[in-house]
Symmetry: none
């Protein structure tokens, strides 16, 4: 089942809105074995919608149209659809009753716009919208299925979940598509690819391996089409063994969530001492729900005075080695352990850029330290010229370093 | 100039990644008078890419291809492009030297995958990638321009900004489009729209007003097509007067950068005391280059113990009013002023969710305090059920509150 999407509305054409609908739809289709082909974005004009319909039906089994079903005058998707199908309009009393009930509940009058919303192409089967006024529509034309839905994400998702996906799954019984994604951090894509080269070469027909790189992270996805679940699990195990402790999680997991689970399993609390990352590491940790169970807090010691005063970095260390040095991050990590009482801690100090570098310590020089109880480990990164990228990359790297250090010192509770 | 996009990579087809690239590209194209037509998403297979190229060149002046230029073998965009153009491959010594330099700096070996990255379609003009190893490519075929770039957003943006957009603007000289965007924070879109209603109604032919809402922020863009610069400036002044002190910046400015400039003008240093935002505010402040000139540092006091110990929040305050209260954030903001010596400071404590709410203080209850010297101001927000959105919204809101408080107390240095 190949599906094309048409999005209607100026807001996507000029980049005012990010299209999250397509990713959601793709994910859901994928689960029933469908595949997203093209997405065509058009503005709110009759001719553009007609042309998009012409193109979209060309190679797809199903065309999903989102947007342009609202009560304002720029929403003309329905008129274009009726013309495309050679259909007239009928008034849907059922839709009118639903809108009337809803408006009464909200204490608002039923408007002329609402009345317009009840006019439907004759041949359309209406799809219930539990989240708004405009129903979805299911139409067929020359063996193609056309489905129109509002563009508002939660309305679209409601109609897809309860109406569209069950109908499509019934209409297109499909070969099973299996996939699993492992998440790694701290290793380069090329290093991972080298490690997996023989494995990938030996993959049987129907299997596919893909690398999805992010900043400081690489996700590795194995997928299998028309392969048995047993066969798939066997290959997946092989892959898991090869990647070993590089794997911090699976299928949408975040590094911070994975680290959080590990800390809770080991009964450890953590704290952060940040200079160049300026709070980004604490932010990553606390974005996860329930972080307060393992995160005590942190210090953003941007000035040297705060490094000394709060974290106990000695002035002689700063004078002899500078703020960006192994000695300083070791003092910082010890300092934040003492300050907060956390057994697990990390510290970071570097030159994020774009200015502030020197011959000896160019922009992108970043020192990290992690501590688990008595054990400490330090690492030096030599990164990029880009400030934000340096912040993001080093944040991920030091979280991964802490995760590995906890795994190494499993008796450190 | 009509532009079609082809995204290559299974990750978009199965919805693993949300396509933020298209919105960014649409916005940038729009600024030079271009328009986004269709986006076709295809997997990493030769035949699909070829078919997408066939379709994309059909009605576009320019086809942008993103993704599939990495060093791993699933990246086959380049092969398909060469075949589409009827091109052979040449080895780019320049690209190899750049990769070699980069890898040496990172202390990593140059791999066979990197070598593959240096093979380029013969007729391609290479576009410098300052953020990664794979360069962009500019090709022409039957009067169409084909441009291939990596799919990693910051690499794509770098190549677009420095190479692609300037070349396109030169190739497609367009009717002069004037535009200016004012950035506001802390006021709702409907409040701003009410204020601007009469102004918008009275705009002459050729002018357009657009609202670009973000989390806690609204950008207001005035654009004029085929209008004189004098006329445009006059309307822009009107708009600026109407928006008044709501405006913190213009044209891509960030709130943190604007606040930073204000602090430096007034000779003030700032510090942060965060609970529920967990370091996000410090992160926003320190993402700006040169932040060390006005930001001393901050405390992420996630646990109550740290609030007491580091920020001097009294245990009786916590017991009587709770951690999420006006009294606590006032103590926190005073505490962080004292701890760091910063005259300007902010503090925040709330229930970010998704759990932890109560009848009296539901999820989304967030208390803020700002201080400029002796002057303090507090504010209570009642926000959403979504954790990340609460963190982002309240971070922006409190930064704006501090900016306004500094403006109000201009004699506070």
């Amino acid at each position: 089942m190949l599906v094309n999407i048409i999005t209607v509305g100026d807001e996507l054409l000029i980049g005012q809105v990010i299209d999250t609908n397509s990713a959601w739809i793709a994910r859901e289709l994928n689960l029933i074995g469908g595949r997203l082909g093209s997405r065509i974005s058009v503005g709110d004009t009759h001719a553009d919608i007609m042309r998009a319909l012409d193109r979209a039906v060309w190679d797809a089994d199903v065309v999903l149209i989102t947007g342009g079903l609202g009560p304002t005058r720029d929403d003309i998707t329905k008129k274009a659809l009726a013309d495309f199908l050679g259909d007239g309009f009928v008034f849907s009393q059922e839709t009118y009753s639903r809108i009337e009930t809803l408006m009464t509940k909200l204490g608002r009058p039923v408007s002329e716009g609402h009345r317009q919303q009840c006019l439907m192409p004759q041949s359309a089967v209406l799809l219930t919208n539990n989240m708004g006024t405009a129903p979805g529509m299911w139409m067929e034309s020359n063996g193609r299925i056309l489905i129109a839905m509002p563009g508002v994400p939660y309305e679209m998702q409601d109609i897809m979940t309860h109406e569209v996906l069950p109908r499509l799954a019934k209409r297109f019984p499909l070969p099973e598509l299996l996939h699993h994604t492992f998440h790694t951090a701290g290793e380069a894509e090329t290093v991972i690819a080298d490690k997996l080269e023989a494995f990938e070469d030996a993959l049987p027909e129907g299997f596919k391996l893909a690398y999805l790189p992010g900043i400081g992270q690489v996700r590795v996805r194995l997928s299998g089409r028309d392969v048995s679940r047993v066969e798939f699990e066997a290959k997946l195990n092989e892959l898991e063994v090869l990647l070993g402790h590089w794997i911090y999680g699976s299928n949408g997991d975040t590094l911070a969530a994975s680290l959080g689970r590990l800390l809770q399993q080991r009964g450890l609390k953590m704290a952060t001492a940040e200079s160049c990352t300026g709070g980004h590491i604490a932010h990553l940790v606390t974005t996860e729900p329930g972080a307060s169970a393992h995160f005590l807090g942190g210090v953003v010691a941007y000035s040297n005075a705060l490094k000394t005063q709060l974290l106990g970095v000695s002035e002689s260390t700063l004078a002899a080695h500078g703020a960006v040095s192994e000695e300083t991050v070791l003092d910082m990590v010890r300092g934040v352990q003492q300050l907060t009482g956390a057994k697990a801690a990390l510290a970071i100090s570097g030159i994020a850029g774009p200015d502030g570098g020197s011959e000896e310590k160019p922009v992108g020089t970043i020192w990290l330290a992690v501590a688990v109880g008595e054990h400490t480990r330090t690492h030096k990164l030599q990164l990029f010229r880009d400030r934000l990228k340096n912040i993001q990359y080093s944040s991920v790297f030091v979280l991964e370093l802490l995760r590995r250090e906890i795994l190494k010192n499993s008796d450190s509770r």
